[in-house]
């Protein structure tokens, strides 16, 4: 999932200071799981904003709403009319959600309330770790399921550098060397010979941005026709 963290309250407060009617819009998917921008976080932020406005003697109407996904048109469309009743939308979704809501609502300013951090996993209660850089050319099968693009400080894909010591990275003694981990994993799988074979070249050309993904089976006929021309 995409992991995010809420922005500092002072920063949010500064960005919304000109608006008198504000909709706090949560997202019920990734940011909900990582406790940054789901329904509960919307309630918390809205409550904090109401209290600070009361203390500052400011009349601001704060609305609350959480939709299943802000990165999906079908969930945004039902709230367009509601959103238009507000001066601005404070979105608690990841950067993708914020941009898509902004694109659909267009005239209404959208302010992000979270910082989007990475694609990761829930490692423990309240702990999320980055696991994937979305490089577009997954070679995890070769690396025992450990991504050197993400886990190695230098993103080396063909073996360790000379800087590791006692299984730790030279950039930080707290950080595991990805390649030591890969060695250990392949060893457990009885596939150490995999390391002797050398690794295939990585195709970095697929990393052009903004990336685009099409499933032709689901593409609307008019789009397919436009593509053929």
């Amino acid at each position: 999932m995409i992991v995010a963290e809420r922005k500092p309250f002072a920063e949010i407060k500064e960005k919304i200071k000109d608006y008198k009617k504000l909709l706090v819009l949560g997202c019920g998917t990734c940011v909900s799981v990582c406790q940054a921008g789901g329904e509960k976080e919307v309630e918390l932020l809205a409550t904090e904003l109401r209290m600070v406005n009361k203390m500052d003697d400011r009349e601001v109407e704060i609305g609350e709403l959480t939709i299943q996904r802000q990165c999906d048109r079908e969930y945004i469309e039902p709230i367009i009319e509601k959103a238009k009743e507000y001066d601005a939308v404070l979105s608690m979704a990841c950067g993708a959600g914020v941009q898509f809501v902004a694109e659909i609502l267009e005239e209404i300013p959208i302010i992000p309330a979270v910082n989007t951090r990475f694609i990761g996993v829930t490692a423990d209660e309240g702990l999320w770790l980055e696991k994937c850089r979305a490089c577009g050319n997954c070679l995890l099968a070769d690396y025992g399921g450990i991504c050197p693009m993400t886990m190695c400080a230098k993103s080396l894909v063909n073996g360790p550098c000379g800087g590791y010591k006692d299984g730790k990275c030279e950039t930080s003694r707290e950080r595991d060397c990805a390649w030591v981990k890969i060695y250990e994993r392949l060893s457990k799988q009885g596939k150490l010979d995999r390391m002797r074979e050398g690794f295939s070249l990585k195709d970095y050309s697929v990393q052009s941005h903004p990336a685009r993904q099409v499933n032709e089976a689901y593409t609307k006929p008019e789009l397919a026709a436009a593509k053929e021309k």
């Binding site: 509960k40 918390l44 409550t47 904090e48 209290m51």
Partner: protein, 67 residues
């Protein structure tokens, strides 16, 4: 402002201990300040940050959790 300041206090009390104690106090005809409003919860583990913030938002001057 007329009269002295009387803070509004909201207390979230556990059904099995703090609330029972308050109940017993009532049975024993012991008085506690009328500006304390008690909210019974089945367990204080149920109390969430949101409950505390909402209490403040709705005008409480102090909130306590007892359990």
């Amino acid at each position: 402002m007329a009269g002295k300041y009387e803070p509004k206090v909201v207390g979230f009390c556990c059904h099995y201990c703090a609330y029972s104690a308050a109940d017993l106090a009532g049975s024993m005809r012991l008085e506690y300040a009328p500006n304390v409003r008690i909210v019974k919860v089945m367990c204080t583990g149920r109390v969430d940050t949101l409950h505390l913030l909402k209490a403040f938002e709705d005008g409480a001057d102090a909130v306590f959790v007892a359990g």
